[in-house]
């Protein structure tokens, strides 16, 4: 394994339920739909639509863990709380970036 390959392996975020046959297909679908989910959140943030962003974070918080992505649930919870506490746009941006970073790295491979 080259250094680049090793870095890439480290960079990926794997589902802890990847070997769970009951939901393996669903995890694939969850990951495949990730770009649409990321776009939704970015659009909501750009428009300053905090309600939609909060709804997005809340849904991800409730579901990502079920698909084996517990870290996404943790960061989505922080994002939701940031919005609920009506923190500054910068704070929301930082929290959102953390969630999106994980979402972009989510993989089934």
């Amino acid at each position: 394994m080259t250094n680049n390959q090793a870095d890439y392996q480290h960079f990926k975020l794997h589902s802890s339920a990847a070997n769970d046959l009951e939901i393996r297909d669903l995890i694939e679908l969850f990951v495949r739909e990730m770009p649409g989910r990321i776009k939704f959140a970015n659009d909501a943030f750009m428009r300053g639509d905090r309600l939609r962003l909060q709804f997005w974070a809340h849904q991800l918080k409730g579901s990502a863990g079920g698909y084996g992505f517990a870290q996404i649930t943790i960061e989505a919870t922080k994002l939701e709380n940031t919005i609920i506490r009506n923190e500054s746009a910068d704070c929301v941006f930082v929290a959102l970036r953390r969630v999106l970073d994980l979402c972009e790295r989510a993989t089934i491979e």
Partner: protein
């Protein structure tokens, strides 16, 4: 609304009300091998509608939903007599103890945290379904007469009111037959109460062996009543004649030659003045039954307004 691939109608039904399709997908996959029929609703409003029409055994209710949250949904469910007995399990990403307590105080039977552990989810669901099953058995037993196995008077009163309301609303025929075993007291005195119990049991079997839509009840003592939905008085009379014949032709092994009979009074809603009420229908069928007694017993009489004048 989406239904799981499982369509066996005798399976317990579970309704998941959650605004996340991601959760619906997970639940469908996770509960696929459980012996349940899973239905899903994507909003509170849709969930309440499905709950009213489906009357599921258990509702898995998301707490945080836009428009109407889970607390408001459970309040609506508990206010409505048709949905108040459905077991509700809250499923929520909120770990707030105050929310859990409030949910339980509002009538939820359990609380599952999201993201849910699949083993815990299945175990809690099975537990709620077991309790619901036992509650249903108890409720049904409370409405059944022990000696005859027929529905009891309490059930009869509720069911007759419901059937009359339905018949009035949709203009459907409905008949009621009231039956009294002839000379039952002297049968008891002569052959003993055990034999009396046997007579009650055999006659109940005759009433129960008819159409599945008929609702046979023990009205009290040696009196019985049968609600016959979508049946005119003429049709109800034919049915009652069959019951009368069956009883009269029953052989009583320890008492050969003994013939036991009953008198039947029949009335349908058409014979009544408005408003057509349960009390009026019972009184009219009773009147017809007493007429059958007066006219020699072991016969079926249909109510007509002239009977009142007699």
């Amino acid at each position: 609304m989406t239904m799981s691939e499982t369509t066996e109608s005798n399976l317990p039904t579970v309704l998941a009300i959650d605004d996340s399709e991601l959760i619906h997908r997970l639940l469908r996959a996770r509960l696929h091998n459980e012996r349940v029929q899973l239905h899903t609703a994507i909003s509170s409003r849709e969930g309440l509608e499905i709950a009213r029409s489906l009357k599921p055994d258990v509702i898995l209710l998301d707490l945080d939903m836009p428009e109407m949250d889970g607390f408001k949904v459970i309040e609506r469910l508990k206010e409505d007599p048709t949905t108040q007995d459905i077991a509700v399990i809250f499923v929520s990403a909120s770990n707030d103890m105050a929310n859990r307590v409030r949910g339980l105080d509002l009538g939820a039977v359990d609380f599952i945290a999201k993201p849910f552990d699949v083993v815990e989810l299945k175990a809690r669901l099975r537990s709620a379904l077991r309790v619901q099953h036992l509650i249903k058995i108890l409720a049904q037993k409370a409405q059944i007469d022990g000696a005859s196995g027929l529905w009891n008077r309490t059930y009869f009163d509720q069911r007759l009111a419901a059937e009359i309301s339905e018949a009035n609303r949709y203009n459907k025929p409905l008949s009621l037959t009231i039956i009294d075993l002839d000379g039952f007291k002297s049968t008891n005195d002569q052959f003993g109460h055990l034999f009396g119990d046997l007579v009650i049991e055999r006659f109940s079997n005759i009433l129960n062996s008819g159409r599945t839509s008929d609702v046979a009840c023990r009205y009290g003592g040696e009196e019985f009543s049968v609600i016959l939905p979508q049946t005119t008085a003429t049709e109800a009379r034919e049915v009652a004649e069959r019951w009368r014949n069956q009883l009269a032709n029953t052989t009583w092994h320890d008492h050969s030659g003994l013939m036991l009979t009953a008198s039947f009074g029949v009335c349908d809603l058409e014979c009544l003045d408005f408003p057509r009420t349960p009390a009026k229908l019972v009184a009219a069928a009773d009147q017809a039954m007493y007429n059958a007694k007066k006219c020699g017993r072991n016969r079926v009489d249909v109510f007509s307004p002239t009977l009142i004048r007699k």
